[in-house]
Amino acid sequence: MPITLTINGTRTRITAHPMTRLLDVLREDCGLTGTKEGCGEGECGACTVLLDGVPVNSCLVPLAQADGTHVATIEGLRGRHPLQRAFVEHGGAQCGICTPGMIMAAVALGRKPSMDAMRVGLAGNLCRCTGYWAIYRSIRSAAGASKR
C-alpha cells in the first residue's frame, strides 16, 4: 500500500513495506543522502530529520508512521539557511557526518536558543570531532547573538 508524505515541500508517494525505516526511504527511494546513518539504534542523531517540525531519529521511524506528515531534511534547507553558513564560518562542521542531523536539530531549537536550550536540545546528537562548543558558537552566530 503506497504511503504519501511531503518531503521538503514535495508530495511524494512511496511504495514500500510500511515498516521500512524512514531513513532508508529518504536515502534510497528518494536519493536524499544528506541524512546519515551513524548507529541505527537512535543514539547518535546523525539521521535527524524534522517530522512535522519535530526532530526525530529517522532510523527509528517506520514509514507507516510518516504517512501524511511533512518531512524536512538537510536538502530542504537548500543551502540558504543561516545555520548552514554559520556552521561553515564558525567551525561547526569538521568531519561533517553529524552535521546534517545537527543542523536539523538546531533548526528545531528556534530562532535564539538559550545555552540551556542548545545543550538539552542537542543532547541526542553526537559529535566526536568538535566537543560541541564550535556548534554552539555557530548556532549563536546564526541567531545574531553576540559572540561568546
Binding site: 543522502t33 546519515k36 546513518e37 548552514q84 556552521f87 569538521q94 543532547a123 566526536r128 566537543g131 562548543w133
Partner: protein, 739 residues
C-alpha cells in the same frame, strides 16, 4: 591578503553543511552487491568445519582459498590473516565472506562454524607472545636512586577506548575492466580511510597485483581518530576478494555493532612508576615499566609502544631514566591506532604519579612540575637536546595564572569539588627515523589560476585541505581561493604518507611549502596562465628532507625522537555527587603551544574536540570485555560525551615556532587527548578520591571514597613511607621522612 593565521572558509565546508558531501555509503554502482563478513564467535581455537545452511544461489562466497596473493593484512608484521584459515585468535575474526544483491537475503544467510576451542589468555602480563620490547636508558639509574631522599611508587591502569567516528567503516570495491589494468583484472577501491597508500599496499599483496592495477580513492570520511588508519586495509581486502570473484562491485558497510566488536581500539595498559625525588621535589631517577595489551595480532602495537615509552617520562628533566616497554598478545580483537597513540596511556600514569609525588613531599603540584619541567637545552629520556621551541614552563605558568589554580585549590579544599592539572607534551611526526623511511612525496600542479595540491594526506575533518591550501597560497603568493585540492586518489597523487602522527601540517605541509617555493621561483614574474601558455604543464614534486640537525639511532633508542614537540597544560574542576558518585567536569582550561596556528579556528577545533575525547576517556568510556568479546558494543551502553557531558572548554593557544615547520607550525591533532584524563583524576584526588585507573566510573569513585579530604594527607603519607622503606632497603638507602 595572507591566508596563514586567518580563519579562511574551509574547503569542504559548504558540501558538508548542505548534505552534498559524498561519504562511502552515499555512493552506489550499477550491479552492486552487498558484502557481509562471517566472524568467529570464540576467542581461541581452531575452525573444525564450516556449514552453509542456506540456498547459495545468487551468493558469492569467499574464503581464504580464494586469495591469489598472501593471506595477510600487510602492515608492519605479517601475522594477521585477512581471512582465518584454521587458527582463531579472537572473537570477531573474519572467516568467510558473502555477497548478494539483496541485503535481506544476505543477512538471513545462516552459516555455522564448528570449532575446537582452546584456552584463551586475556592477561597481557601472562602472555606467551610479545610483539615488541623497547628499553630507553639514560644516565645511571642506581646513581639516581642513591641521590634521592624519597622513592615514590605507583601502578596505573588504563582501559580500551573506542575511536567512535560517527561514520562506521565502509568501502566499495569495483573490479576491472572499468578499473585500472583493464581486462587483466585491476581493482578500484573507494572508502572511508586515513591512509590510501596503506590500503594500496595491502591490496597489492593480498591480490598479487602490480601497483598500477590497484587504485584507492578516499571518499569523504566521517571521522577517523586512528580508527581508520590500519583497519580499512582489512575491510578493503574483503570487498576486493568478493568483487574479484563476483566480477561485480561490492559494498561493505559495517553497522555500529560490527564496527565496535571487530575493529581496533586504544591499547589498554598497565604502567608502573618508581621515582627518586629530593626533599625539595627534584626528580633524581625515573624507572618506568609500560605494558600494553596488543590484542590478538601485532597491527601497530610496536609503534604505539614506541610513542608510548618515549612520552612515558613526561615533559620532565631527569638525568637518570629507564623506561622498559612491552606489548603482548591477548585473545581479544587487535588494538591499534587511536589519537595519541600510546602517549595518552603513559602520560596518564606520569601525571597522576606527579601529583602523588607532590603529596608525598607535601609540596604543591604546580611547584613539583615547575621545578622539573623541561627547559630549552635540557635533554629528554632519549637524549634529545631541546631547542628554543620547548615551552613546558610557559604553558604551565599560563594555565596556572589563567585559572588562579593555587587559590582555587585552597578554596575548594574539603568540598565536593576538586581541581587538578596535567602538564604534557606530544612529538610531531613519525618517531625516530620513521619520516626518513617514509620518504613522503607531495606535489603541486600549476593551474590557470593558481595550483592544485596533490597529496595522499586525507581530510578526515581536521582540515587538511584547508590548512595545506593556506600554506601553499601564501608561499606561492596567490589568494587562498586559487588553490585547489585533489582527491586523495592513489591514481593521481603521490604517496605523502599516512594521515597520522600529527604529521600532516608539520611534515607534509613543509614538503608542500617547498613545492610552492620552487614553483614560485619558476614562475618568476609570470602569472600561472602566462607560464602555462609559454611552457606547458608544470608539476613540482618534492620529497621529505630530514633537517640536518636531527639524528636518531634506532638500535640504542637514542637521539631526536621527534623533530619538535607541542606542549600543553590542562586544568579541570570536577564535582562529585556524593549520592551517585558520578563525577562531572564543570570547568576546563587548556593551554596549548603548537608552534603556529595556520588556521586558528581549525586548531582550536582540534583542541576542543580532542579534549572532549580525553574527558570521555577519563570518566565514561568503558569497553567491557566479557570472554574476549566487547559486551557493550553499541552506543546505548558505550557512551561518549554528549552536549551534557562536555564542560565549557577554554582554549589558549601559544605560538613558539619550530624552525623546520611551515610558518613555524608543529603538530596539533593528537596532543589534546593526552592531558584530560590525568587532570580529571588529579582533580578527583584533590576532592578526596585516590584513583589510579580510568575510566573513573561511579563504581570506581565509590570504592575510592574512603580517602576523604580530611584523611587524604595522612594516608598518602603512610603509603609513600611504605614504598620508600621497601625500595630504600633494596638500594641500601634509608628512608627519610619528609618534613
Amino acid at each position: 591578503m595572507r591566508a596563514v593565521g586567518r580563519n579562511v572558509l574551509r574547503k569542504d565546508g559548504v558540501s558538508k553543511v548542505t548534505g552534498a558531501a559524498r561519504y562511502i555509503d552515499d555512493l552506489t554502482f550499477p550491479n552492486l552487491l552487498y558484502g557481509r563478513t562471517i566472524r568467529s564467535t570464540i576467542p581461541a581455537g581452531e575452525i573444525a568445519g564450516v556449514h552453509l545452511n542456506f540456498d547459495t544461489a545468487g551468493f558469492t562466497i569467499v574464503d581464504y582459498r580464494d586469495i591469489a596473493g598472501r593471506n595477510i593484512v600487510a602492515l608492519i608484521e605479517d601475522d594477521q590473516p585477512c581471512l582465518a584459515e584454521r587458527e582463531i585468535r579472537h572473537v570477531a575474526e573474519p572467516i568467510l565472506l558473502l555477497a548478494h544483491a539483496d541485503r535481506e537475503r544476505l543477512l538471513a544467510a545462516d552459516v555455522q562454524i564448528d570449532y575446537r576451542a582452546s584456552t584463551p589468555n586475556y592477561d597481557p602480563a601472562a602472555s606467551a607472545i610479545t610483539f615488541k620490547t623497547i628499553t630507553i636508558d639514560k644516565g645511571d639509574l642506581d646513581r639516581g636512586f642513591a641521590a634521592a631522599d624519597r622513592i615514590v611508587e605507583g601502578e596505573y591502569r588504563v582501559g580500551h577506548q573506542e575511536q567512535l567516528y560517527i561514520e562506521p567503516n565502509g568501502v566499495i570495491a569495483v573490479p576491472g575492466p572499468d578499473g585500472p589494468g583493464g581486462d587483466e583484472g585491476g581493482i578500484v577501491i573507494y572508502g572511508s580511510m586515513q591512509c590510501p597508500y596503506y590500503v594500496h599496499r595491502a591490496i597489492t599483496v593480498l591480490l598479487d597485483l602490480p601497483d598500477d592495477h590497484v587504485r584507492i580513492i578516499q571518499t569523504e570520511t566521517g571521522g577517523g581518530f586512528g580508527g581508520k588508519e590500519e583497519y580499512p586495509s582489512m575491510i578493503a581486502g574483503h570487498a576486493a576478494l568478493l568483487a574479484r570473484k563476483a566480477r561485480r562491485p561490492v559494498k561493505i558497510i559495517y553497522d555500529r555493532v560490527e564496527d565496535m566488536l571487530a575493529t581496533t581500539k586504544r591499547h589498554p595498559g598497565i604502567i608502573r612508576h618508581r621515582t627518586g625525588v629530593t626533599r625539595d621535589g627534584r626528580l633524581t631517577a625515573m624507572e618506568i615499566d609500560v605494558l600494553l595489551d596488543g590484542g590478538a595480532y601485532a597491527t601497530l602495537s610496536a609503534v604505539v609502544l614506541s610513542r608510548g615509552v618515549i612520552h612515558a617520562s613526561g615533559p620532565y628533566r631527569c638525568d637518570h631514566i629507564r623506561v622498559r616497554g612491552r606489548a603482548t598478545m591477548t585473545n581479544t580483537p587487535p588494538n591499534g591506532a587511536f589519537r595519541g597513540f600510546g602517549a595518552p596511556q603513559t602520560q596518564f600514569a606520569t601525571e597522576v604519579h606527579m601529583d602523588r609525588i607532590a603529596d608525598a613531599l607535601g609540596l604543591d603540584p604546580v611547584r613539583v612540575r615547575d621545578i622539573n619541567a623541561l627547559r630549552p637545552g635540557d635533554t629528554t629520556a632519549t637524549g634529545q637536546r631541546l631547542g628554543r621551541d620547548c615551552s613546558a614552563r610557559q604553558v604551565l605558568r599560563e594555565a596556572v595564572a589563567r585559572t588562579d589554580f593555587t587559590r582555587r585549590r585552597k578554596a575548594l579544599a574539603g568540598s565536593n569539588r576538586g581541581i587538578g592539572l596535567s602538564l604534557f607534551f606530544h612529538g610531531s611526526g613519525f618517531t625516530g627515523g620513521g619520516e626518513v623511511k617514509l620518504a613522503s612525496k607531495a606535489a603541486l600542479a600549476l593551474t590557470e589560476r593558481g595550483a592544485r595540491i596533490l597529496v595522499a594526506s586525507t581530510e578526515i575533518g581536521q582540515g587538511t585541505r584547508t590548512m595545506h591550501a593556506q600554506i601553499v597560497a601564501d608561499t606561492l603568493g596567490v589568494p587562498y581561493d586559487c588553490i585547489d585540492v585533489n582527491a586523495a586518489d592513489t591514481g593521481e597523487v603521490p604517496n605523502s604518507g599516512p594521515t597520522v602522527a600529527s604529521r600532516t601540517c608539520m611534515i607534509v605541509g613543509r614538503i608542500l611549502q617547498r613545492c610552492a617555493e620552487d614553483m614560485r621561483a619558476r614562475l618568476g614574474a609570470m602569472t600561472p596562465r602566462q607560464y602555462l601558455r609559454a611552457h606547458g604543464p608544470l608539476v613540482v614534486t618534492k620529497e621529505y628532507e630530514k633537517p640536518s640537525d636531527i639524528t636518531w639511532d634506532d638500535s640504542s633508542y637514542r637521539g631526536d625522537a621527534y623533530g619538535s614537540y607541542g606542549w600543553a597544560c590542562d586544568v579541570v574542576e570536577v564535582e562529585v555527587d556524593r549520592d551517585t558518585w558520578q563525577a562531572t567536569p564543570v570547568a576546563f582550561t587548556t593551554v596549548h603551544e603548537i608552534g603556529k596556528a595556520i588556521h586558528p579556528m581549525l586548531a582550536k577545533g582540534q583542541i576542543e574536540g580532542g579534549s572532549a575525547q580525553g574527558i570521555g576517556y577519563a570518566l565514561i568510556e568503558e569497553v567491557v570485555m566479557r570472554d574476549g568479546r566487547m559486551a557493550n558494543g553499541q552506543l546505548t551502553n558505550y557512551t561518549i560525551p554528549t552536549t551534557l557531558d562536555t564542560p565549557a572548554i577554554e582554549v589558549v593557544m601559544l605560538e613558539n615556532p619550530y624552525k623546520h615547520g611551515p610558518f613555524g607550525a608543529k603538530g596539533v591533532g593528537e596532543m589534546p587527548i593526552d592531558g584530560p584524563a590525568p587532570a580529571v583524576i588529579n582533580a578527583l584526588r584533590h576532592a578526596g578520591f585516590d584513583l589510579r585507573e580510568i575510566p573513573a566510573t561511579p563504581e570506581k569513585i565509590m570504592r575510592a571514597r574512603s580517602a576523604s579530604p580530611e584523611q587524604r594527607r595522612p594516608s598518602a603519607e603512610r603509603e609513600s613511607l611504605r614504598s620508600s622503606a621497601r625500595s630504600g632497603s633494596e638500594l641500601g638507602v634509608g628512608p627519610q621522612r619528609a618534613k
